[in-house]
Amino acid sequence: MKIAIVSEKESLDARIDSRFGRCAYFAIHDTDSKTTEFFPNPAKDSPEGAGPAAVKFVASKGVKKVVAPEFGGKAEAMLEKLQIEMVNEKDKTISEVIKELE
């Protein structure tokens, strides 16, 4: 299963970003192959609707679970619709989150 974690930087030692829609990077971890890939968030600088645009991005990558400190209302509605599970986590590093989810 693919899990997207919002990340401040392009590194496993980076911390979880403070938001979902406008996070800097998505760390997408595949629990089957145990690999992690980083993608810059294409929705980061959207003037409006960054949340749904970020959902669109992670959904197109086949993600089934997203990890962020919080989710905006519009993003939440679309995540629910697509049955992508939301997990609230903060202050941890990407590798710590991955360890806990495995």
Partner: protein
């Protein structure tokens, strides 16, 4: 007589746009000018709180077209999503998903143009209302007001200003800030009066407003409100940038008390009535100077 449009704006909120707009309008009420004041702060219009004598003439609905997608005709090509600049169409190839996010839609109609399969029709969505209040001399207060839940005021501002097209002098009370609502308000203005206060925030936002107006090639002058409370930085900035200071308003208890009761200082004090008439002359003079340059 050709129409003159003067916008009263400020980057920072709470600097006194409404105070200046309503009092300027009020001070010119007996000047024989065929004039309208348009309250473009559609999120929170309050000019009416001060100009209560106008009688409601009409209320007009402002709507926008929202796309409706017929999923049976949709081929999931994604072109409408590509055309949308506002993330208002949620499209995914896998799992096949298409949704209109109405609250993000600006009603531009690009998606309807994009769709080659007739899957998109449009419905009317109520954005707000325009209230027109008429004074005995024929002048009007035109008020744009958004519906609860709507968060894009552009269309309401545009149509409110259009409603004033038959007046010779149009005053626009702009929404605060330097974003789209401000730009839409000043877009066709001949002159912009920027109201600021002598604080770091006031100055920072003034600079932003000036930069935008220069980009748009619209002349402006400045009013410093509560002028005696802060520093001289705003004044120095105006000198340095060669921007005229149109008026200074001191921090005055009498003004504050009147304002808090919804009264206008130009009704209570002949001195202030004269100062606002003088303000209009200053604006006209500066505007003429720029025009003949």
């Amino acid at each position: 007589m050709t129409r003159t449009t003067i916008a009263i704006a400020s980057g920072k909120g709470g600097t006194g746009k409404t105070f200046i707009s309503t009092n300027l309008f009020n001070s010119l009420q007996n000047s024989g000018l065929n004039m309208a004041l348009v309250d473009c702060d559609a999120e929170a219009p309050n000019d009416r709180e001060f100009l209560r004598e106008g009688v409601l003439q009409s209320t007009q609905a402002v709507t926008q077209k929202i796309p409706v997608i017929d999923k049976s005709k949709c081929t999931y090509c994604g072109k409408c999503d590509e055309y949308c600049n506002f993330n208002a169409i949620f499209f995914l190839e896998e799992p096949q998903t298409i949704e209109v996010l109405e609250e993000l839609c600006h009603g531009c109609g690009a998606c309807s143009v994009a769709c080659e399969y007739g899957a998109i029709t449009e419905k009317d969505d109520l954005l707000g209302k325009i209230n027109r209040y008429k004074f005995p001399n024929g002048n009007e207060l035109i008020e744009g007001k958004m519906e609860v839940g709507v968060h894009v005021s552009i269309q309401i501002i545009k149509e409110s200003i259009k409603a004033a097209e038959n007046f010779d002098l149009v005053l626009l009370d702009s929404p605060p800030g330097t974003g789209c609502p401000f730009i839409q308000t000043v877009y066709k203005a001949d002159y912009v009066v920027l109201v600021t206060e002598p604080t770091p925030f006031g100055l920072s936002d003034l600079k932003q407003s000036v930069e935008i107006l220069r980009e748009m090639d619209i002349p402006c002058g400045v009013i410093i409100n509560r002028a005696d409370l802060g520093t001289d930085e705003a004044l120095n900035y105006l000198k340095q940038e060669n921007i005229p200071l149109l008026m200074s308003v001191p921090f005055d208890r009498e003004i504050a008390v009147a304002y808090s009761k919804g009264e206008m200082i130009t009704n209570l004090s002949s001195e202030w009535r004269e100062k606002f008439s003088q303000l209009y002359r200053c604006i006209k003079e500066d505007f003429q100077k720029v025009k003949t340059k």
